[in-house]
Amino acid sequence: MDLAFSKEEIAFREEVRAFFRDNVPPETRRKMVEGRHLSKDEMVAWWRILNKKGWGVSHWPKEYGGTGWTSVQHYIFNEELQMHPAPAPLAFGVSMVGPVIYTFGNEKQKQQYLPRIANVDDWWCQGFSEPGSGSDLASLKTKAERKGDKYIINGQKTWTTLAQHADMIFCLCRTDTTAKKQMGISFIVFSMKSKGVTVRPIETIDGGHEVNEVFFDDVEVPVENLIGEENKGWDYAKFLLGNERTGIARVGVSKERLRRIKDLASKVEQNGKPVIEDQGFREKLAACEIELKALELTQLRVVADEGKHGKGKPNPASSVLKIKGSEIQQTTTELLMEVIGPFAAPYDVHGDDGSNETMDWTAQIAPSYFNNRKVSIYGGSNEIQRNIITKAVLGL
């Protein structure tokens, strides 16, 4: 048992750190620190820098452009990326559809899609949730009817993150309405530019535009866009959801935010002295740091376990990472609110697109707090995670 990273791992961390320091555009980093949204161009520009370095799809198999890193190296990479901070690779392409395609897709699909995912030539979005199918995803109703060499797709998806930027969508569609609900679903990919696709923005409580409703109205998709076998889509979806585990705890994100809290709390005054000198506040901060340290260790235990025994089936401990990770992220945004106090109130009607730089950046603190309520809802709500622990770990 040994907590320390090896010499090689420490050297790797230095290499990663130096690369981020020298290559993340400063403006991108600044916006990340201040909790602002980034433009599509800013994100894509950074991801292409990462891809050029060969780190765009680090966890993919080597033959498709991956790095062959160990679990610990992946952990270090993610942590450093989150702490810098810099935008993580677009999950919908790199972590979700990519692995489904190289695992279940045919040769032609691999050649067609994988390099474009790596270089973000296509921006992908995820067509899973529907208005009537949230936690009960398998009840989804979007229909794909086979007509000759085409599927005709009708229905509606929702909570589609950054669909406004998307070129492609991977979509769960019902292809057999007579089978048991999990058995009649297929995994189909198609262009968001197809005729009959409509994207309508959903404004979230922070005033931001991250998520959308997406409507399909007789969208024609070639049958060759089916990934894997027809009616096996639920298996691929489960594979996809269980695949993205490293970084789910977002320890680096919380670490970075704690740094920011300390920074701001040493500037904002209360009772004639900086907030950071208030004993009550300091104890709350320390309590959060202890929770985060415990989470970091729990995450490292999962990482070490993966390194030893292979990824295999999802480790149910990742539900612990999701629950605690989201709670801690939310706590950090609450602490920021506490630091800023009454100055959280002013609302920037221009949003955070950077067009109104005269508006004090503290204006992003309340929106970020509001926005972070999402983290205990998305990716399988924390209540669903408790169901997973109940079944998979406790056997109840």
Partner: protein, 380 residues
């Protein structure tokens, strides 16, 4: 980075788990509790026989030269079985003072007795007004010719009623709360002037309040520097805290297991109560609390190898905070999910709750350690 046990550590775990499975079910524990002194000499002899009492001592001193991880393994197992025998007081604390501060003569005189199970120790530290501050010492040790004369009162001395040898903190100079001027002394429990008032503790262990009245010990009774013993005390107590964290994880682990088992078997409204989501989610939260506690117990254990004493102390304090919180939550909810049966002395579950509660209040509670982490400037 590696969280796996080595082959030897795995064997150690099997050996202690096996021993306790054979000789330490809840009925046996009740029997041991009624023996003279409140624990079993036979079990203690078995622990000695398997070499467990000699684990942390250097091979040169007759031990096995094992480290913090081995102590963690043993303490976790002891926590699972709610073991009454004085491993913490004797091997971890008494042994800790000898290992880290003892002279060659002191080691030669005392360690063999610990290893062969012949002698047990107790740490007389707590005073009426010291609470969790290890540097708050009113008891005095005054030099009189070639001897030290010890006077003072110590409270809730774990295993104090039965111990053969006491490790006593006493002030050799300065004011009651000065960090310097504290000595650590080895005092035979049967020395003239030592008065012990023993009693059982809430969790079924035994302790004593001990009065020292003009107790004379030789100059060789002082462990380390009699005028600057606090760093040694802090180090050994940090090891004790770390060991208790592991013990608590064992207790939490078993407490959750027993609770889940109960949820599966207890029926109401015609179904196992574990089919109710409210109870399922409570149990899931207990699992989360357990895993967080386990991580921090490992963190404190591995911190034993940190170079910086400050970082080591902060790591242990942070672990004690997490263990305190998790232990309280798991202890309380284990009772709640058992319902009325959890309230009975007869059921084992409540005894985990009681031990976890006493662990929280030993050598600094959650608030105390949170303040320590805060004063150290946090963890990140």
């Amino acid at each position: 980075m590696d969280f796996d046990l080595s082959e030897e550590q795995r064997l150690l775990k099997e050996s202690i788990d096996g021993l306790l499975t054979d000789s330490y079910d809840f009925d046996a524990r009740k029997k041991y509790q009624k023996e003279k002194g409140g624990w079993s000499k036979a079990v203690w002899a078995k622990l000695a026989e398997q070499g467990l009492l000699g684990l942390p001592f250097a091979e040169a001193d007759g031990g096995f030269g094992a480290g913090a991880v081995e102590t963690m393994i043993v303490m976790e197992a002891l926590g699972k079985a709610l073991v009454l025998e004085p491993y913490l007081a004797t091997v971890v604390i008494g042994g800790g003072f000898l290992r880290h501060g003892g002279s060659a003569e002191q080691k030669a005189q005392h360690i063999p007795g610990i290893i062969d199970g012949g002698k047990t120790f107790a740490f007389a530290q707590l005073e009426k007004n010291s609470r969790y501050d290890l540097g708050d010492v009113a008891a005095t040790a005054k030099k009189k010719g070639a001897v030290w004369v010890i006077d003072g009162e110590k409270f809730v001395v774990l295993n104090g009623e039965n111990a053969d040898t006491l490790i006593v903190t006493a002030r050799t100079k300065g004011g009651q709360r000065d960090r310097s001027g504290i000595g650590v002394f080895i005092v035979p429990a049967n020395a003239k002037g030592v008065t012990r008032k023993g009693y059982p503790t809430q969790d079924g262990l035994h302790a004593a309040d001990i009065t020292f009245t003009g107790v004379e010990v030789g100059a060789d009774a002082a462990i380390g520097d009699p005028e600057n013993g606090l760093p040694l005390i802090e180090r050994v107590v940090d090891e004790a805290r770390t060991a208790m964290c592991a013990e608590a994880v064992g207790a939490m682990d078993e407490s959750l297991k027993a609770t889940v088992e109960y949820l599966k078997t207890r029926k109401q409204f015609g179904v196992p109560i574990g089919s109710f989501q409210t109870l399922q989610h409570r149990a899931a939260d207990m699992f989360v609390a357990l895993e967080q506690a386990r991580s921090m117990s490992m963190f404190a254990t591995m911190a034993a190898d940190f170079d910086s004493a400050k970082e080591r102390a902060t790591a242990v304090a942070a672990a004690k905070v997490q263990i305190g919180k998790s232990g309280k939550f798991i202890g309380q909810q284990s009772i709640q999910l058992h319902g009325g049966i959890g309230m009975t002395q007869e059921a084992k579950i409540g005894h985990y709750f009681k031990r976890l509660t006493m662990i929280e209040n030993t050598f600094g509670d959650t608030d105390y350690h949170l303040r320590r982490v805060t004063d150290a400037g946090g963890l990140v």
